[in-house]
Symmetry: C2
Subunit: 258 residues, 2 copies
């Protein structure tokens, strides 16, 4: 509900709305709304009715689920430009399946879900953006699963640090962690203790972490260790080697035989 004049500039820089024409922009502004949440404040909870879609303009939102035994699983940390959109909502008819809470002070663009539902049929590029978004989320999740299944703590951490660095355009030679270590550990699906113990070990692969300060001493070395399927600039690509192995394998589900 704050200054809309400032914020309306922000909207059009979001990839989601960058292709709108002036008429469409005007229409969008009629229903768009701004919402600010303070650090630790909750945006919505699992089971809440889905009333709005949110675009993060600044700050960071942690999305998480709470398991029956009370453990919190951090699904994603959404930052500037990201959308809070529950893929599940499409099926479970307008109810959130995740909780969303502000990591820091955060401002969001809120657009009524009903408006989106109507206009997704009318504006083709909107539908297109949503399909891309959904595909991206599906892919994200697959990569996450693959990482959890194949990488150990050290690899997960260094992979995370590198993606973080690229995503936020940090200087690889030295930057500060934007989140608490507890949050990062949770995002990586490990305990804080494990995360903490892992950091010193990363020195071997050229990553020095002191307090909140991170430095990649030798970028290429860190790269090769981090994640065999990730590079700093691109996510888990398919390698020729991987394909070749698949060709050779026959039918056992363990290792590719030769």
């Amino acid at each position: 509900m704050s200054d809309v004049k400032i914020s309306s500039n922000v909207i059009w820089t979001l990839p989601f709305f960058s292709k709108l024409n002036d008429v469409e922009k005007a229409e969008l502004l009629k229903v768009a709304n701004f919402r600010h949440v303070k650090r630790g404040e909750t945006l919505f909870l699992q089971g809440d009715r889905l009333t709005h879609f949110y675009w993060v303009c600044s700050g960071a939102i942690r999305q998480f689920r709470v398991t029956p035994d009370g453990r919190e699983l951090t699904g994603a940390i959404r930052t500037e430009g990201d959308v809070l959109y529950d893929p599940d909502a499409r099926q479970r008819e307008q109810h959130h399946a995740m909780n969303a809470r502000a990591v820091q002070e955060t401002s969001l663009l809120a657009i009524p879900a009903s408006w989106i539902d109507e206009h997704i049929k009318l504006w083709p590029h909107l539908a297109d953006h949503f399909m891309t978004l959904l595909a991206g989320r599906a892919q994200e999740a697959l990569i996450d699963t693959e990482h959890q299944a194949t990488m150990n703590a050290a690899q997960l951490v260094s992979c995370f640090l590198q993606k973080l660095c690229v995503l936020h355009h940090f200087d690889p030679h030295g930057f500060e962690l934007p989140y608490s270590k507890s949050l990062i550990a949770s995002r990586l699906g490990m305990e804080l203790e494990t995360f903490s113990r892992t950091l010193p070990k990363l020195r071997e692969v050229g990553i020095t972490v002191t307090g909140k300060h991170v430095a990649f001493d030798n970028i290429s070395l860190a790269q090769s260790h981090a994640c065999n399927a990730c590079t700093v600039t691109e996510e888990c690509l398919t390698h020729a080697a991987m394909q070749e192995m698949a060709t050779r394998s026959v039918g056992n589900y363990k290792k590719s035989g030769q």
Copy 2:
């Protein structure tokens, strides 16, 4: 390339094409194609150009990725009615990110990707189906991740067995496993040995497995143990209790405080 007359009946039973009118059906048949693969045969590999989308008419296809160290990760087992659609393909421009291989003799409906690309803009319900599909895949992946993170081997197995039973409309009081145990273990992200050792333990929760034969002795007992967030008929629902816990928690990422 077998008998199209038989198969054309099959197509319209797929949820994907059930809403087409006669003109559209005719048009689809012009480009639709059938493909048969034998047990163990490969449909496509990571990195292959994506030329067709496939709908499984009968049989089962294992989708998997091969990690650089040669381990095969089974992402999904697609059966009758499922679509082989790589969410990643949308971004990585027409290349498969997964391998697909027949578990059993399988017949598929193949539709050229180019035709889909064109018609997705023309036929609104087609776009809608794809969005639902993508949303479903994203959701599937999230649930998978959550399961891997929170459940032990026994829970994973019993959850799998129950979903299997429901999905294939098996009799809970006794049915045969449709896949090899190695395949199931791989799908669950565990070693065959672990899977094998887990089966006897399930007797405690009312699941008896002898050879390939599975029986749920006490269905409600098995349910409550299997997966706190799953029921036999529905996947991982949000519970009121879970929401309540989230409300009480404040900011630590481990357990919800009170």
